[in-house]
């Protein structure tokens, strides 16, 4: 009966009840790398968080309006925000991710010069905002307007691409936990972004990570900011609903 109910009625609930089987990339890292992430004085991502705090309070644009001018203290105003992104953007009637929202605020509300994707400033502001949700569960909005993009994200996740003709699902669903050469294949949960990757020697966004996996299979990546990436981000967030945010994380 319970199983039948599971299958027929409560599939989404039962899936989230399986949350303990989902693993963050954190759990499969070496103890030293875990310690580095957990100690703010050792976590290199905190440098971007600090820079982000400065930018949050810095006047920008013709009116000299800082982010804090509209939002006040990030500790309270930004708490939980990263946990529910990507979200629906009323202005563009399209899904938008956290970095996209910050870019939009900057351009439309501050009238300041745009911050390109993966620029130090945008990474810093994103890291600072995401830091305010550390420890909170990922809570994707229930907004049905996001459903088509989520479905597209899922399709992109299971679609084979590149000269090596591999899909995300083949590695991250079917082979997670095994080793691809020296790397343990994680389950691809977006729990830590933006994060400091030792291999990059820098902070990077989830889109940078997706790009890396795409070029790894010798596929043509999408342009930064592309709707395809936002769709994959939406699907990954849904798949990780309830997992704990750890931004800024550290990864090997």
């Amino acid at each position: 009966m319970t199983r039948l109910a599971c299958i027929l009625l409560l599939l989404p609930l039962c899936l989230s009840a399986a949350a303990e089987e989902r693993r963050s990339g954190f759990q499969d890292m070496a103890p030293e790398t875990q310690a580095m992430q957990q100690d703010d004085t050792a976590n290199p991502g905190m440098l971007w968080v600090l820079e982000g705090e400065t930018l949050w309070n810095a006047p920008a644009g013709p009116a000299g309006q800082p982010c804090a001018g509209c939002h006040g203290s990030a500790e309270s105003a930004m708490r939980g925000v990263a946990a529910r992104y990507p979200a629906w953007d009323e202005a563009d009637a399209a899904p938008i991710d956290l970095a996209g929202r910050i870019q939009q605020c900057r351009a439309a509300r501050q009238g300041a010069p745009p911050l390109p994707r993966e620029s130090e400033e945008l990474l810093a502001l994103t890291a600072y905002v995401a830091r305010q949700s550390r420890g909170l569960p990922i809570t994707p909005p229930e907004d049905p307007r996001l459903d088509p993009a989520r479905a597209e994200g899922r399709a992109l996740y299971t679609e084979r691409r590149g000269q090596l003709d591999l899909s995300c699902a083949q590695c991250h669903d079917e082979n997670a936990g095994r080793r691809l050469a020296g790397s343990a294949i994680p389950q691809a949960h977006p729990t830590g972004y933006p994060l400091y990757r030792l291999e990059w020697q820098s902070l990077g966004s989830l889109q940078r990570r997706l790009r890396g996996c795409m070029t790894g299979v010798r596929a043509e990546p999408y342009a930064y900011g592309a709707l395809e990436y936002v769709a994959i981000e939406l699907y990954l967030a849904q798949r990780a609903a309830g997992m704990t945010l750890e931004a800024p994380a550290v990864r090997p």
């Binding site: 691409r161 590149g162 591999l166 095994r178 050469a181 010798r218 596929a219 043509e220």
Partner: protein
């Protein structure tokens, strides 16, 4: 049921897969016979062969070998030359869901990066070299 009818049924159901499992690709892709020494170097090379990303092989000097796929040790006694050639050329003809990339196929691919578009992962001669090397791997790992 006699064998002929059984194999006829198989052929009708999955012509390519069934025939291929029997015979593989007996025709070499080039006139020059494969060179096992060059083949070993290709298998060991993570940028060219990529094999060790997924497989382990008896190539002790290469650390960090993958474990997503069968050990290549013993491959030369498990499979014939023709079967090995097919597994390299296009293992998806045997198993459409295979993780193993097709090393000699350019059709049916999606969003290939421009630098690799229209190119096979290995050249015909490289495939022959790798087949020659795999045939030397007679011993299963203890």
């Amino acid at each position: 049921m006699n064998r002929k009818r059984a194999s006829l049924a198989l052929l009708l159901l999955a012509p390519l897969a069934a025939a291929a499992r029997e015979e593989g690709l007996p025709e070499p892709l080039t006139a020059t016979p494969g060179d096992a020494v060059r083949g070993r170097a290709i298998v060991a090379d993570r940028q060219r062969g990529l094999c060790l990303l997924c497989h382990t092989a008896p190539i002790p000097e290469e650390r960090f070998q993958g474990n997503l796929a069968p050990d290549l040790a013993g491959a030369g006694s498990r499979w014939t030359e023709a079967q090995l050639r097919l597994r390299l050329v296009d293992s998806r003809r045997l198993n459409p869901d295979s993780l193993m990339p097709s090393y000699y196929r350019t059709e049916g691919l999606h969003r290939v990066a421009p630098a690799f578009a229209g190119r096979t992962v290995l050249s015909a001669q490289e495939i022959e070299d790798v087949v020659a090397y795999l045939l030397t791997l007679k011993e299963e790992r203890p």
